[in-house]
Structure formats: structure tokens, C-alpha cells
């Protein structure tokens, strides 16, 4: 089996595992059976199209085709402008956007929706459709004012969380280091899911959700809708003259520092910056790796702090430079053993061993390390599932079955539950 085929098979197996855990949610066979037995046969059994009906249908289709030619206008995907300090530029799908200290960056979409990044926030519009957009918020505070339309489809990804939006006004604050999310609703309704929220949780106007993935805690508080709506929620216009962005609700999340009044704040499209960090932020990992290599990758690791070490490891991993990735993650664990990110580095090492090197015993050791260090961490479910899978693949059936019992006890409907049941012969 070639490398490409193996990569595809691994990816496909992962897709299948996740799908298998959700099959009953996607199609309830009990209801489908009832419907089939009640309606499926009689409706279809005697169904014969009359020739006149066929002729009428053909005529309708012909008329429809004429109308289509006359009236058809393909729905165009949304587009957006990036506005900062009064100047604007066309936004590009896929590029990262960041707001420097003391500035706000405004994204103005063609359907009238508006997304405002507070200072020090980073986000990316990953996909534009005719009815909405998919956005990733990497960190920071973002205000959203999504124009409500019947077919609106907007989605927000914030680390392990997702927010599904139709039309509404709300604010989010995502702190990836602390793995904390806050969603504060002003109007409308959204669905929040991910991390400990196994089922999508609706939020309505006036509600504030605070979730900590790290602590496995969710708190939803209600405030009078008017109180939040009445607050001055406007993100400062990107000309920088207004007050800096602040969330309208009290929160234990660290507020963003106020900007220096005289400071010039300009929107910064991260696209042509020379450092490995900026290139990585753009998603150009090969160039980012090359930039880090130009500085001497391992020298850069020796100089780097914990955050940069994690970044260097990720850049090398995404660029396919596995030895350097392992070096960076290893350095992180050696020099910062008490930092939470040391456990995340263990998880990353496990993924390299499993996904890219096919060393399943080694993968099991690293997944086990993560689980020992962060038994309730945000990656614990995935780590335990893959620990079980690693043991299974390495031939340690006794260990795999023990892991399966543990997994099914904690996550009975998790993505690896089917493998767990198979291992236990259920």
C-alpha cells in the first residue's frame, strides 16, 4: 500500500469512527422502519405515471427551463471588506486577520452582516457561501451582528467549540490558552456545541454562556435581554477614535488592555510578513518552517519560550518535518514540565507516532502520558480513544480491552465507542 493510500485510509478510518458514533443521531432506524412499513410500500406499489402526466410534466419542465433562462441568476457567495482606521480592502477567503493592540478590525459582509474583531484578536473567514460564512476565531473577543434571513447559515469555530448562527447579535470571547469561551447573546438564538457540550445547547437573548474546556465546566446565566441590549455594545469604529472594545457583561475573563490613545492603530492583514510565526498564522507551514530553519530550527527552539516551542512543533509537524517537530515538543516537555502545554505536546507526539510514523506502542505511551497528566483535559476523550486504538494496533489486546472498559465507562457514546464494543465483544 502506497503512502498516499495509507494516509487516505487512516483519514477515512477516522471519519468512519466519528460517523459510527453518530449514526443513530443521523438516522433513527426505528422511525425509518416504521415509516417504511407504514408508507413506503403502498405509496410506491401502485405508482404508475400516466402518459398525460408525463406530457404535462415535460411541458412544465420546458416552461421552467425558459423561465430559468430568463430569470436565472446564480446565487453569489458573500464577499466582505476589511475595514480599519477608515481604510478598507477586499477580504479574502482563508486569510488570517488580526487586530493589533489598540485597534479594532471590522469585517463588513455583502449581506449587511458585520463582524468586529477587538484588539489583539485573530480570526479567519474559512468559507464564504451564498447564505453565510464559516469563521474561525483563534483568540480574543469578537462581536457579531448577523443579518437574519430565512436561509442564513453562519458557523463559528472557537477551538473545540462551535456556534451555529442564523441571524442574531452576540459577542464571543475565546481564550485558547485557558480554553475558556464566553458567548453573550443580545438578540436571536444560537446553538453552541463542542468540548463538554455533547448536545448543541441553544442560547437566547439575554443569556451568557461561560465554558471552560479545561475544567469541564459550563455556566449559563440569564440577564434581562434589555439590559444587554441597552448596553453600549458598539465595537469602536475602526478609525480608532472611539472607546476600546469591552464586553458588555461582567466576566472573569481577563479584559483586553485599553489602547494608548495616541497610538496609531492599523489593520494588519497577515499575509506577507517574514517571520515564521506570521507565515504559520497564514497557514503556510512549509514557508514558516523554512523561515524557522533559516534561523536554525533547533537554535530557535533553544531560544523559544513555551508558546513558541509549541508553535515551532506545530509548524514542523504540519510541514512534514517530523524529527524537528519531535525535537520542539520534546524541548517543551523537558524545559517546561509543569506547564499545561507539556501535556498537549505529549498528545502531539502521540499523534505523530500514530498518524505519521505508524509506531503504535510509542503512540500508546504518549497518549497514556497525556491521560496521566491531564485526566480531565480537553483532549482526554480523544486521548483515551486513541490510546485504546494504539494498544489494539500494537497487539496489546489485554491493555486495549482494559482501555475499552475505561473508555465506555466515561464516554459511552464517544467516537471510539464502537471500537470499544468490538474489543469487548459486545
Amino acid at each position: 500500500m502506497g503512502t498516499m493510500t495509507r494516509s487516505l485510509s487512516d483519514l477515512g478510518r477516522r471519519v468512519a469512527d466519528e460517523q459510527d458514533a453518530e449514526l443513530d443521531r443521523l438516522v433513527d432506524l426505528g422511525r425509518a422502519r416504521e415509516r417504511f412499513l407504514r408508507y413506503g410500500q403502498p405509496e410506491r406499489a401502485g405508482r404508475k405515471a400516466h402518459p398525460l402526466m408525463i406530457a404535462a410534466a415535460a411541458a412544465l419542465m420546458a416552461a421552467g427551463a425558459v423561465l430559468a433562462v430568463l430569470w436565472y441568476r446564480a446565487p453569489e457567495p458573500l464577499h466582505f471588506e476589511v475595514v480599519s482606521r477608515g481604510s478598507s480592502s477586499a477580504g479574502e477567503e482563508g486569510s488570517w486577520l488580526s487586530a493589533s493592540p489598540g485597534e479594532a478590525v471590522d469585517l463588513r459582509f455583502s449581506d449587511g452582516s458585520r463582524v468586529s474583531l477587538a484588539e489583539r484578536s485573530r480570526a479567519r473567514v474559512i468559507e464564504l457561501g451564498a447564505e453565510g460564512a464559516d469563521l474561525v476565531v483563534e483568540n480574543g473577543k469578537v462581536q457579531l451582528d448577523i443579518v437574519s434571513r430565512r436561509e442564513s447559515q453562519w458557523q463559528l469555530s472557537l477551538g473545540p467549540f462551535r456556534v451555529q448562527v442564523t441571524g442574531t447579535r452576540f459577542d464571543v470571547d475565546w481564550q485558547p490558552d485557558a480554553e475558556r469561551l464566553m458567548v453573550s447573546m443580545r438578540e436571536g438564538r444560537v446553538l453552541v456545541s463542542g468540548c463538554m457540550l455533547d448536545e448543541p445547547r441553544p442560547l437566547v437573548a439575554g443569556e451568557v454562556l461561560r465554558a471552560s474546556c479545561k475544567e469541564g465546566r459550563v455556566e449559563i446565566t440569564s440577564q434581562p435581554a434589555q439590559a444587554t441590549a441597552a448596553a453600549d455594545l458598539e465595537v469602536p469604529p475602526p478609525d480608532g477614535d472611539a472607546e476600546p472594545y469591552e464586553s458588555e457583561v461582567e466576566t472573569d475573563l481577563e479584559p483586553a488592555p485599553r489602547p494608548e490613545p495616541a497610538r496609531t492603530a492599523t489593520a494588519e492583514r497577515v499575509q506577507a510578513t517574514p517571520t515564521w510565526k506570521d507565515l504559520a498564522a497564514e497557514g503556510d507551514y512549509k514557508s514558516a518552517y523554512a523561515a524557522a530553519q533559516a534561523l536554525g530550527f533547533r537554535d530557535e527552539c533553544a531560544r523559544a519560550g513555551v508558546g513558541d516551542l509549541m508553535g515551532l512543533g506545530d509548524v514542523a509537524r504540519y510541514a512534514g518535518q517530523l524529527a524537528d517537530a519531535e525535537h520542539a515538543y520534546g524541548e517543551l516537555r523537558r524545559r517546561f514540565p509543569s506547564d499545561d502545554r507539556a501535556s498537549v505536546a505529549a498528545f502531539a507526539l502521540a499523534r505523530i507516532a500514530f498518524d505519521q510514523r505508524g509506531r503504535y506502542s510509542e503512540a500508546a505511551r504518549w497518549f497514556g502520558t497525556y491521560l496521566r497528566e491531564r485526566p480531565s483535559g480537553s483532549l482526554a476523550r480523544e486521548a483515551l480513544g486513541r490510546y485504546m486504538e494504539s494498544l489494539h494496533r500494537s497487539g496489546d489486546m489485554v491493555g486495549a480491552r482494559q482501555a475499552a472498559e475505561r473508555y465506555l465507562g466515561r464516554y459511552p457514546t464517544g467516537p471510539h465507542s464502537e471500537l470499544g464494543h468490538r474489543l469487548l465483544g459486545n
Partner: protein, 218 residues
Amino acid sequence: MHDEAFPGAATAAAAERTGVVRHLPIPDNDAVLVEAIRAGRGGAAAALFDRHAPHVRRVLVRVLGVDRDLPDLVQEVFVQVLESLDRLQQPKALRGWITSIAVFVARAHIRKKKRQQLFRFFAPSDIEEFVTAPDGTSHSEAVRSVYRVMAHLSADERIAFALRFVDGMELTEVAAACRVSLATIKRRLASAQRKFAEEARRHPELVPWLSGGGRWAQ
């Protein structure tokens, strides 16, 4: 007391008194099942569904991913199976026959969706971007991205790709499910792999999966 200990006893006795016809269970055998359906035996359609619905559901999910029409499509497959069963020459091959019908139903659905995207103004409320729609599942971003990328393949390529790599079917099984030759399936897969690799580079969530092999990273 007796009724409490054996709750079904009184009901069974009543049924005997009123002469209810009881169907014997249909053996766990596809050839017998096909004969039972052709003979119009009571309970045969239910047995068909019970035995093969999980497989049909899995095939549809593999090919289509998250799609709100999945329950309708499962029903559609079984309706078509019943309608076409007379053409099945080898009753033992029922499972493969059902798989191929599921594949054809999925293909028709993909094509219908693509047509709807072209003529969206006809019924905008009925149309969802079936790859990116909010789906209420806990699927990872990587899994969602896989289906976003697969949306760039033709219907035939997408089916071959999904059955081979997501469902893990052997090449011969994929060819049989699509009712084409092995050579055709190999061509479709080669084209699907190339397009998938090209498009997947735009999705950072897939990079770790794809950068493992040298050819992917090119």
C-alpha cells in the same frame, strides 16, 4: 399472581381464542428472505429492513456525510429494493444488490443537490449546503472538511472515494457496488485521489493527515 409472573400469558391465551395468525420468524438467510418477499409473506419486508438497514444507513452516511435527507434516502433504498427484487437473479447476492441500490440512490441525491445549487431560486428554503450545514453532530472540523473537499469531486468519484477510503471496502467490492469494472473503479479512484489531495491543501485541519506521506506534501 399468574399474570404478574408471566405478563404475556393472558395476551397469548386471548390471541389463541380469537384465532390470530402468527408468522414464524424468517430464517437469517438472504435467499430465504428473498423467497419470502416474493411470496408476499407477512413480516418479510420488516425482516428485510431489520437485517439490512444498518448497512444501508452506513453506506449512505459514508458517501453523503451529514445530510438532512438521510432518513428519506434510507426509505427510498428499501422501496427500490422491493420494486426491483424480481430482477435479482441470485438471491444469495441480496446484500450486494442492496448496496448497489444504496449507491445509486446516493448518486441521484448528489446530482439533485448539485442541480438545486444551480437553480437555487426555485426553492431556497429547501436547500441546505449539505456539507457545511449545522448538523448537531460532534464531528470534528477535520471530518467536516473531508466532506467539503469531497464536494469538489464528481458524484462517481465521490462514491468510489467514500466506499474505498471511508468505508474501507475492497476494490472489487467498490466496483460491484458501483456496477462497473475494476479498471473503471481504479481510474475513478486515481482521479478522486488527485483532486482530493489538491483541494485538501486548502484545509489546514487536513494538513496533519496529508503531510504524513511525501507524496501528499508535494
